[in-house]
């Protein structure tokens, strides 16, 4: 552990592999939790399985063994049942009901751990952080190979989850999208929900050793929430969530090793970083995409405004140029585009620029004319909407407006509407 990359060391490689199989299982289950709006139940279950696990261990179960899995599933069902009882039976809001159920069960688990500390091989820090760093030391023998117990359990859980999801996939999607119609069509929605609860409990148990009670929720929810920003079909979402989980597990482990800190914590941090990245770069409604399209629009508007104002100046209906850095930049850009030229110390429109400007002014005045005719607005209220709408009117709408208000009429302020230009730029159609 002194130098070089930890991957070379088989112990680290096993730890990373363990984290990856667990993360993959969590990502798959989490994708259903997220789209069914059951993330908080996932959070609750990851806390609430603790007493189930502790009781099972006290009763003689082995960590990750069948009895412990059973205890965890029982605790998960109890959580869901308590939450439903508080919400439906006692009229408590859903989030508050969840809060009551999981804090109570988790507290019970912690007290049990404290009370039976001598008999239970769990302590508070293991419960809270997991012990991924030690995963490779606890091995079982499989066909002559020494395989870490955590990897075995995680692998079996992953296989189980993949099989269960593949087999019930179309019913899961139906039940998740439209539970009422699914029930009406005979899909056993309640059974599927119960199955999802059980799967959450089992993956949580597998995740306990890797990430601890609290950070399992990051493994469950964050990959799916990230994937949801990037794709819009459920099967892609599930697969992407598994991949994101696995990547984050590997990167987080290596980062923790480099920084000498908790692997579980770093995996959560890496997952959070991944989510932030997705928020920024997601196609369509990612922040960067929104900022880009908004600035592209602003830039086009600035240049078109500049052209229109120069055209009006030449017409003699508006004086003075626009000021400000954006207008200055727009003028420079228009010069490069060949729409504007400088002669005798003044900016002037070229022929191409005039044609573009006329299109904009035509849109503006047609819209004013149409508004003036069809909407009862005072004269001085016509300009502001037109000033904005002019940038969004294409040729087709211009023709319809012109047909309705008539070419010769002029705008409501009595100015002529310039004719439709013969030349059109691609972006103006």
């Amino acid at each position: 552990m002194t130098s070089g990359w930890p991957v070379i060391d088989p112990l680290h490689a096993w730890n990373i592999a363990t984290a990856m199989v667990v993360a993959a299982g969590c990502g798959l289950v989490g994708s259903l939790l997220v789209v069914r709006r059951m993330s908080l139940l996932g959070d609750a279950i990851s806390h609430a399985v603790l007493p189930g696990i502790v009781l099972a261990v006290i009763a003689g179960g082995r960590p990750g063994g069948g009895l412990v899995m059973l205890g965890a599933v029982a605790a998960a069902v109890l959580t869901a049942w308590l939450t439903a009882g508080l919400t439906a039976g006692a009229g408590v809001a859903e989030d508050a009901g969840t809060g009551v159920a999981f804090t109570t069960l988790f507290a019970l688990g912690v007290v049990l751990v404290s009370a039976f500390a001598s008999r239970v091989d769990l302590d508070a820090s293991c419960v809270l952080y997991g012990e991924l760093e030690l995963a490779a030391f606890d091995t079982v023998s499989v066909a002559g190979w020494e395989v870490p117990r955590g990897f075995m359990i995680g692998g079996l859980v992953l296989v189980g989850v993949v099989v269960a999801m593949a087999v019930t996939w179309k019913e899961q999607v139906f039940a998740a999208f439209d539970p009422a119609a699914a029930r009406a069509a005979g899909v056993p929605v309640a059974m599927l929900s119960l199955g999802l609860l059980a799967a959450t409990a089992v993956t949580t148990v597998a995740g306990f050793g890797v990430a601890g009670a609290v950070l399992v929720v990051a493994l469950l929810v964050v990959p799916a929430a990230t994937a949801e920003l990037l794709v819009d079909r459920l099967h892609r979402l599930a697969i992407l969530a598994a991949v994101i989980g696995m990547l984050a597990a590997a990167i987080g482990y290596l980062a923790a090793w480099r920084l000498n800190t908790s692997a579980a914590g770093m995996i959560a941090v890496v997952l959070g970083g991944g989510y932030v990245l997705a928020v920024l770069v997601a196609p369509g409604d990612g922040l960067l995409a929104r900022v880009c399209s908004a600035s592209a629009l602003r830039w086009r508007v600035a240049r078109e405004d500049r052209l229109a104002s120069m055209w009006r100046e030449a017409e003699g209906t508006a004086g003075g140029g626009s000021a400000g850095p954006l207008a200055w930049l727009a003028t420079r850009a228009l010069t490069i585009e060949g729409a504007v030229e400088r002669s005798a110390g003044r900016w002037r429109l070229t022929a191409a620029g005039r044609s573009r400007a006329e299109t904009i002014v035509r849109s503006h005045r047609l819209w004013e004319a149409w508004l003036g005719r069809n909407v009862e607005l005072p004269l001085d209220h016509l300009h502001p909407p037109a000033e904005w709408v002019e940038h969004h009117i294409g040729r087709g709408v211009r023709e319809r407006l012109a047909a309705e208000v008539g070419e010769q009429a002029g705008d409501p302020h009595g100015r002529a509407i310039p004719p439709e230009s013969a030349r059109h730029r691609a972006g103006d159609g």
Binding site: D43, A96, T104, S114, L128, Y129, V214, A218, T261, Y275
Partner: protein, 396 residues
Amino acid sequence: MILATLLTYNTIVVAAAVGAVGLAAGMVGALAVLRRRALAGDAAAHGTLAGVALAFLATGRRELPWLLLGGLATALVTLAALVFIRRWTRTRDDAATALVLGVSFGVGVALVTGITARGLPDSAGLEQFLLGHTAAVTATDAALLAACAVGAAALVVLGLKEATLVAFDDAFAAAAGWPVAVIDLALVGLVAVMVVVGLPAAGAVLVTALLVIPPVAARQWTERVPSLVTLSAVIGAGAALAGVVVSGLVPRLATGPVVVLACAAVCAVSVLAAPERGWLARRRRARWADAAWRESRILAALAAERPVAGDAADNALLRRLIATGLAEPATAGFRLTVAGRERAVEQARRRAAWEAILVVAPDDARAFLTMEVPDPATVIDPARHAEITRLSRTTP
């Protein structure tokens, strides 16, 4: 002996302070639960750990005021992240809460583990902020906690009317000119403060319980906000005190879980046994309603000399009708006695009366008609009932 160990000056001061924290948390929590902000507090609570660790790194000492200030800072950052995600992404609210909670806790865990692994002096105690431990709290710290708690409680009392209004109907509040965003911000700020002040008592993982469970328990006993806040405060204070005492007696037992279990016990009793909203009372009412409904159906069937084609519950009810002298065995099945016929006629009258009310005053019918089919005159306000009767006479 036990009393002697309990009753040191420090213990008493700390217990009093933690009791005050429980009290204030119950009050703030009542508003947070009403406003559906219960689990936002949980996200903030998990976010405190990073701030505690950062404050320790910055000051190099484990002094409670600085650590709590650090915790407050990151709790607010966590809440801001939550608001940002809800506003700017299409991630759903529940996923956003779980995500922020998990990631911010991960940051905290990574920081705390990193600090502990580097063996900085005094760093081992940081883990006490996970599950709460009042043993290390000094009298000076306790005074700070108590002061914060009293301040928060005073703010709740001052802003009770506004918070109630916003929680009940924020659209109306906004339309009426109340600064909903400011009130919400103040509420969330209070939640963050309580989460931080509650850290020594309950720890980052469980402090939510102090905010959530007492109001849920109190809600079962009352329908009014002021009494809800009061009761919630009492439950919170009691549970916090119980936590301090019990964890003081049992070595190595963290305070947080005990506090939570004490809250949960009160909550369980409330949810089960509260007189109006409690589960037992609801169940009893539902049974009465079902029995009354079945009885009216059976009486109507017997009165019309139709066979009672019912299930086991119907048969049990039929036996009871016979036992109470309303029905009797006849040659073919059963028939009504004179008393039974009277009862059937009365029920038919009530039914007809409700149908008439449904025509002229549907809102009253929906508000007062229950499955027992009570006599309208006994459940509707007399003046209103007279008006409805007049209306149904004039309506053809």
